[in-house]
Symmetry: C2
Subunit: 329 residues, 2 copies
């Protein structure tokens, strides 16, 4: 057996440089196929009992990492956590992955993505519409939208870029305490500067469709087999959902964690986006404990696409075990 | 905060049953969108320096698990290892994921998949051609094929189902020691019954195209920036490859491990497919050590799609850290 020595790898690198220089003088007669430059479609399907779930990616926000990102951890510790996942330490990747549940009689969207209007901040976001089309889902066939909370990356997709309803035939359902918090002018006037954008954005999305919006109290079944779960803390009305069909269950924790290498592994860490950091951490623990205890397939909005997996307990927190990709449902 | 109690989840299950009963009498006016039943395309792209890599999935073989699968481990320990990955304990999922490297001047295939002819044994295999088409790659544009070893799931794709060359314009390159072993009639006559199929299959694939087949001695650069690495043990001539462009490197270990939750975590375990179990384990350790030491992005043919990740050392073996899915290259 020949040893794979460092010399071989270094030699390879040197030769690669030579190869690159060879671009100008290709040595093959066949025409080179052009590189694609394009990623594959960002959707993934699986069954929960009789229900068919489609996870649809809306891109990733690579947010600059600074000391403010995790309120109660030192920057070098956060960087170490990213390094352990072989990620760069100057940005935090924050993917967006929504869900559509086809119960057989209804097509239900859980959150709606960015609507393509956050590309100024997150140039690699806004791929939802293309991925939904690739998945063969016509927005006209969506019967109901359920919103976890009012942050822009969850509600902006209710409207298309032109301001019209992206899902024209869908009922729009939002958590009552979320509506009460964000649509209250007193709360807006008292909110810090950093939160003003979200208040204004909620008004942009909801003001002219307020009559269509239905509010639900988290904690009840919202559609057959789909339960809403009060999971407040990240925002005052943040809501999770569980899906039950046959003897199978599935848990959508929305933003109860952000990037899992930071907040699943270190559940006491509080992200800058958590309105009530202590309550958010308490909710995170409650949901991850349940996922671990019941071995429930779980989906995090900001987990790496396709964003579903299982949770195990560790000495210091939890570990996400991604669901293995399957070629069939 | 409302508690997510077991009662809620059980209630959900009961309600889901009620929902399922409702199939016969849908309560909504809108027509239900049909469930798709189809998974998304199985291809994934990333860059290695200036090179563009496309991982193309050829499905998964769900092999019945029995005591013979890991030669030197007890069945309950193997089942425990699968359980830790939230996998069933009666089958081992063995995905097939090939690679295509577009160097800018050449399109190089590393292994070719099953050719769709193993569906009797593995009904969820044979998706390579469809996934290659989804990736926008015309087999006619492939300039060169490099084979890691002669097992059917790696060489059968050289020919299509009709027996013709699937990549009509590609040179066909195989490891010299692999050819010497499998194409030798003496070896075939001395081989155990279980290996006869692979010997016969190698003849089926290569006999009528022998004049086209080029043999290379592992340990050298085979294309600009693509190195072959002797990695014998799994088969007598099993060969890995590394890819180097700019200051980036990428390691393709082919079958140096099978299912990672078994053989990355427990590198001394020997799979039934390893011709020389001790040598295979030694090679596995050599390659995984190198991947860990150099923090190289690494691809295993039988790792979960998209089958690339990083390797860290643990107390008892290694851990695969899957590469995070990215919406762009």
């Amino acid at each position: 057996m020949t040893e794979l020595s460092r010399r071989h790898l270094l030699a390879g690198t040197a030769l690669a440089a030579a190869g690159a220089a060879g671009f100008a003088l290709p040595q093959v007669a066949t025409a080179a196929a052009p590189q694609s430059g394009q990623q594959g479609p960002g959707f993934y399907r699986f069954k929960v009992g009789d229900y068919e779930v489609t996870a649809v990616n809306d891109g990733t926000w690579y947010r600059k990492l600074d000391a403010s990102f995790v309120r109660n951890a030192e920057l070098p510790d956060v960087q170490k956590a990213l390094e352990a996942a072989f990620l760069p330490t100057d940005v935090v990747p924050i993917p967006f992955t929504t869900l559509l549940i086809n119960t057989g009689s209804k097509l239900v969207a859980l959150d709606t993505g960015t609507g393509g209007v956050l590309t100024g901040m997150a140039p690699q976001s806004g791929t939802y519409a293309a991925n939904l089309a690739a998945a063969g889902i016509d927005p006209k066939t969506v019967d109901a939208i359920y919103i976890s909370h009012f942050h822009p990356d969850h509600i902006n997709g209710i409207k298309g870029k032109d301001g019209g309803l992206f899902f024209p035939n869908a009922s729009i359902n939002v958590p009552e305490p979320e509506w009460a918090f964000w649509m209250d002018d007193g709360n807006m006037s008292r909110a810090p500067e950093a939160a003003q954008g979200s208040f204004k954005n909620a008004r942009r999305v909801f003001d002219d469709i307020a009559g269509k919006v239905q509010r639900f109290a988290p904690g009840k079944e919202v559609e057959p087999g789909i339960m809403s779960i009060a999971a407040h803390g990240h925002t005052p009305g943040h809501t999770a959902f569980s899906v039950h069909s046959g003897n199978k269950s599935f848990l959508y924790i929305a933003d109860a964690t952000n990037n899992p290498w930071l907040f699943v592994r270190n559940p006491t860490w509080q992200a800058i986006f958590d309105a009530d950091g202590n309550k958010a951490a308490e909710t995170r623990k409650m949901l991850l404990d349940r996922a671990a205890a019941d071995k429930m397939l779980t989906h995090g909005y900001h987990w790496p696409f396709p964003a579903s997996g299982y949770i195990t307990r560790t000495a210091s927190g939890y570990e996400l075990v991604p669901k293995m990709w399957s070629p069939t449902l």
